[in-house]
Symmetry: C2
């Protein structure tokens, strides 16, 4: 839909038919803005040399890594070597490890910071919705709304329903990994460890009403804690009682383990892979998904000497997302911001020539662009609940604070 800005578009996957299905859907919807190249390629993105060859062959200038979390390091390596821009939407994971020590970016991506800087390679990390847009919301609040931020609570609620007994909204292997390890949060300016489902909160949220969410370990806490001077940064994810019950049973029985067990017949099997095999394919849920998602930042701090609370958020609708893209709102909110990031790099706004998490880049152009891409932002504070207005956030309060000091 944005090849007027992005130019030629090449889609690559281990499974060529997946790329071709996406291209078919785009052509069916007559979504290309102007005639141009839209091509499918077979690629194992763990193979750095093959990835470099494909980048060169297609003359790509921006690589959007929307693959599994296990690919980041190989795709980033290829981009640095060739000297093209890199974007991803989630933190790197080692398939053999669950929940490493914080800050997670420090274990993988940030070890390439200096090299990106030196070679002038733009690498935008975590440019989905969460991480991604919520990082921009945090930067917006810290830079252009508050004089001092005391806490950022990122709240992610899927208030929709897929109508199945139980399913994960994306690959169960990746999904469950978020909840089986230690929950790391940044509290009182230090890392705090909790267990999953140990700490919860209930908020009255716009559009989706009263929602209970649970303290969860998540990518953005690991960069925001390093990049913003805020003592409390937490991530909260909404779960229904039914989800928690099923998760708890499977986890307590050991069925979510990535470590192999041996059956009585001597077959070595990873239980989590069997659970994945019996669960519905997340792709199959989209056509019947109903309801809305809420993702936003509840930020507390001081503005003009007054204790203030700001909620910056997006509401997305599963059925509307499916009508536009054949995907439900969870995929939609994760995928569209990465396209916005690519467009901002193409236009120059975000072509920073170093490695950056989203909160290190100008938030207003990103949020304003997302308004036009189907992801509108709203804000709620003492003045009420209203659509995001870039004019409200034009002043860099950090500069005015420094000027006043």
């Amino acid at each position: 839909m944005h090849n007027d800005v992005l130019g030629d578009i090449h889609i690559a996957s281990r499974t060529l038919s997946k790329c071709e299905a996406i291209i078919g859907s785009i052509l069916d919807k007559k979504a290309l803005k102007r005639p141009g190249i839209l091509a499918a390629h077979r690629l194992d993105a763990m193979d750095v040399e093959a990835t470099k060859a494909l980048i060169r062959q297609t003359k790509s200038q921006i690589v959007l890594n929307a693959g599994s979390a296990f690919l980041n390091m190989s795709v980033l390596r290829a981009c640095i070597d060739v000297g093209v821009a890199y974007i991803d939407t989630a933190i790197h994971e080692d398939p053999t490890k669950v929940c490493e020590t914080p800050p997670w970016y420090g274990n993988y991506e940030w070890t390439h910071r200096e090299e990106c800087e030196r070679k002038g390679v733009t690498a935008v990390l975590g440019a989905g919705f969460d991480p991604g847009v919520v990082n921009a919301y945090a930067a917006l609040a810290a830079n252009a709304y508050f004089d001092r931020v005391d806490s950022i609570d990122i709240i992610d609620v899927n208030a929709g329903s897929h109508g199945r007994y139980f399913a994960t909204n994306f690959d169960p292997e990746i999904n469950f990994r978020e909840f089986t390890g230690t929950v790391w949060s940044w509290q009182e300016s230090q890392w705090t460890a909790n267990k999953m489902f140990e700490v919860k909160r209930t908020d009255e949220l716009p559009m989706v009403g009263s929602q209970t969410t649970y303290l969860t370990g998540h990518d953005e806490v690991h960069s925001l804690s390093a990049n913003l001077d805020v003592p409390d940064i937490r991530f909260w994810m909404g779960f229904g009682e039914h989800y928690i019950n099923v998760f708890t049973v499977l986890n307590n029985l050991g069925l979510l383990s990535e470590k192999p067990v041996v059956t009585a017949e001597g077959l070595e099997v990873v239980p989590l892979k069997v659970v994945k095999a019996v669960l519905p394919d997340p792709m199959s849920l989209a056509p019947n998904y109903k309801g809305k998602t809420f993702i936003g930042d509840l930020v507390k701090g001081v503005r003009d000497g007054v204790e203030t609370e700001l909620l910056v958020y997006n509401i997305s609708d599963h059925e509307e997302a499916f009508a536009e893209t054949n995907s439900q709102a969870i995929s939609y909110t994760a995928g569209v911001p990465a396209i916005a990031a690519a467009m901002l790099i193409a236009k120059g706004d975000w072509d920073c020539h170093h490695m950056a998490n989203v909160e290190e880049l100008p938030p207003v152009p990103f949020i304003a662009l997302l308004e036009t891409l189907g992801l509108p932002t709203r804000v709620r504070d003492a003045k009420g609940d209203r659509a995001f207005d870039p004019g409200e956030f034009r002043q860099d309060r950090r500069q005015s604070a420094r000027a006043g000091a």
Copy 2:
């Protein structure tokens, strides 16, 4: 403990070390009543010719099949061919089928009835506790207590605790099969189909207190309905809410299926076998098992022209069972009655020279013998709750009813 009656004892299994462990435990406890042969043998009891050879080699006269439910047909075949007595404790199952159409015995065991009769082979089917002792309780009530029986409700409650998050008390593969198919019961003199956990009752039971049990498909309903003229025969099993929750989650997800699934990596796996691999080994539960089991028959009918209710039951204690046999009460109650059946065949009381379910054999010698083997019976009726007294049940009321007619 009863080789004075049973003579030489040979134990056979695919895994020789299991037999040797049993023999070691017997010798440790100095439990042999008199010097005699107690020997271990390796045998695949699916191999009829090997089984026949072992019977002949050991000069066995009584074969007690305490193997898995998949072995009945091959062991029975061997016994008929050699002409020795056969005992089992549960109905035959085909590993590829779950919950066949009733009556279950009609699909397998009873197809050999005529041959046993013709060749004079004693074959006692289902001689554990349930099926087994509860069939004898039903016969006792029908033959020697009531003039007319209207209903028999067999109630099985394990009020003990193993202290683990979740475990099955015997092989999960066999255990879950009892609950994943249709629940068949005999009501108003016909087969009635229900789903598991669809129908429940709560009773105030001796020793174990108020207990909720669920209508369950079980072997004895299939023989009692054919052998006794009683319109309502039902089996009820006790489950805690936690057990039902875990079972429901696993079952709804498809993790209790015996049909293979294929993982994303192309590995073909039977989910139930993976669940079995992650659950505690049932054998490992025994040392820490605490509490009691209740198994009994609640029988309603008419006696001397009056509507009457009789409860015939046994209470067993997990810790006492473990002290005597290194097994918990569920194994104890299933295993000891089969020994009693073997002793009654050896003595002649039950050496009937045809195929019989337990309710077709004299109940009083069986129940009286179990008194001396650690499984005492109690009765409760309008006259109160008391120990079983054989003298109370000496008269065959069917004969007196016929004499009076």
